[in-house]
């Protein structure tokens, strides 16, 4: 495995994207625009009436509070989905991985090439998200540009372990279960829509261990311009740790699945 050979595997994913990039950009704009309009402005107009609530959000409007959290949460959702169905397709439905394996490419090339592509996609969509955020006036600090790589890292903390899991499954049913019972609950309860200080004290530690909470906290601090170096490093280290663990699991499950 070399960087060069991994990029050759990556070439497949970037090549096939050429046909669908227009539609994907449109949905990249539409998704944050709809969410920020409905939740940030619509629901936010109720939240912002209560001084006490605004205080708990850190003294900013609900839109400003929500937007960076949603950026991280969208990155998680997108990365998880990319690590489910396209990965299953690679092993089973289209067998792209098998075609790659019949060439000089090696298993780590196949895994890293695909994950690198997911990172590209998530970075791209997070950049669009940032643009929409700016258009909604939800940007507070120039540091917010760092939220894009932070969101991409959040995505990879999901993509890597989810791809590893997908490689061990024979049907897409468990993937749907994973999305419904793991990804969606995280989306709802990891601080995206309300601070986790609102959660019952007993379940709060649960939120701390979710990678999404670290991603949301990191992006939010960068967006509001109140990021502390220590806390940010902590979040980055946690997300990197989960990603690296996912890569190790992925190398193992891909090698098993693609073993002759």
């Amino acid at each position: 495995m070399t960087v060069h050979s991994t990029l050759r595997a990556y070439g497949y994913w970037s090549h096939q994207y050429r046909r669908i990039w227009r539609a994907s950009i449109a949905s990249g704009f539409l998704n944050p625009a709809l969410f920020l309009a409905a939740m940030g402005l619509g629901l936010g107009s109720l939240v912002n009436r209560h001084g006490a609530s605004v205080g708990r959000l850190g003294g900013v409007s609900y839109l400003v509070f929500l937007a960076p959290g949603l950026m991280a949460a969208s990155a998680m959702q997108m990365a998880s989905l990319e690590a489910m169905f396209p990965v299953m397709g690679g092993f089973k439905w289209i067998r792209t991985y098998h075609a790659m394996q019949a060439s000089p490419l090696e298993v780590p090339d196949i895994l890293y090439g695909h994950l690198l592509w997911m990172a590209t996609r998530v970075s791209f969509v997070s950049t669009i998200f940032l643009g929409v955020m700016a258009a909604f006036g939800a940007v507070h600090s120039p540091e917010v540009v760092l939220a894009v790589p932070a969101a991409a890292l959040t995505g990879m903390a999901f993509a890597a372990p989810v791809a590893a899991f997908t490689a061990t499954r024979e049907s897409d049913q468990p993937l749907i279960g994973l999305f419904r019972f793991v990804v969606i609950p995280m989306f709802l309860f990891s601080g995206t829509f309300f601070p986790i200080s609102q959660l019952p004290a007993a379940v709060r530690p649960l939120a701390w261990v979710t990678p999404l909470w670290h991603g949301v906290s990191l992006c939010r601090a960068l967006s509001l311009g109140n990021a502390s170096v220590l806390a940010s490093f902590g979040h980055v280290a946690y997300l990197l740790g989960v990603t690296v663990m996912g890569l190790a699991l992925g190398r193992r499950s891909y090698a098993r699945r693609l073993a002759p």
Binding site: H4, S5, R8, A9, G11, Y12, H15, Q16, R19, A99, M100, S103, P104, L105
Partner: protein
């Protein structure tokens, strides 16, 4: 992904320069008679077209050895013959083909050396002609009588040909001279409803070696 994309992307896996891949892709599409479909999507292609694309794709790295697992299974006769023709040309160009098949005519057409496998063991090995000479006779006389029990005729016909096989619906006489065997049968006063003299084929060899009962 289009037909052409499929070749271009696959060529990249082998770290070939893009220019080389493009040249080879054009040549291979020509070779596989897919040039007019180059910009069509792969998904709606018929089975035969896809099989040809798969073979074209496998040639992008100019391999010396090509492994084919039942390359023409499920294809219509036109598609099969086209594929045979292309595989034969590859063989002429010096590519070694290793293929598995259940079609004996395919094996006869394409193979220089042939291995008959039965339950994972090698049952026989040789050139098609060699195997026919070794395990069968030059000709086969197929006889159909007005009876429900062709098996009973085997004993009566024992003197005819080199070997007799009674099947539920007909009797096969393995012999060097089918016509002569037929005359012999008729001279014994047995009148078949239908008779057919044909050359022995690999199928006869295969059935002889692996038996007529279903494998599973």
């Amino acid at each position: 992904m289009t037909v052409l994309d499929n070749l271009l992307v696959y060529g990249r896996y082998f770290d070939l320069p893009r220019k080389v891949i493009r040249q080879r892709a054009e040549r291979l599409l020509e070779f596989a008679q897919l040039a007019d479909r180059a910009n069509d999507k792969v998904d709606p292609l018929s089975g035969g077209l896809r099989r040809r694309l798969t073979i074209a794709r496998s040639l992008i790295s100019e391999p010396e050895l090509l492994l084919l697992d039942e390359p023409t299974t499920g294809l219509d006769p036109q598609a099969r013959h086209l594929l045979w023709d292309r595989l034969y040309r590859l063989k002429q160009q010096g590519v070694t083909l290793v293929l598995t098949t259940h079609y004996m005519d395919e094996a006869e057409q394409l193979c220089d050396r042939l291995v008959i496998m039965d339950e994972g063991r090698i049952a026989a090995e040789g050139s098609p002609r060699d195997l026919i000479a070794r395990y069968s006779t030059r000709e086969v006389l197929e006889l159909r009588f007005n009876t429900d029990d062709h098996g009973a005729l085997v004993e009566k016909l024992a003197a005819v040909g080199e070997r007799i096989e009674g099947l539920p619906d007909r009797v096969l006489v393995y012999t060097a001279h089918g016509e002569r065997a037929l005359e012999q049968v008729e001279s014994m006063g047995l009148v078949p409803l239908a008779s057919l003299v044909r050359r022995s084929t690999l199928e006869d060899v295969f059935l002889r070696l692996t038996g007529r009962s279903l494998a599973d």
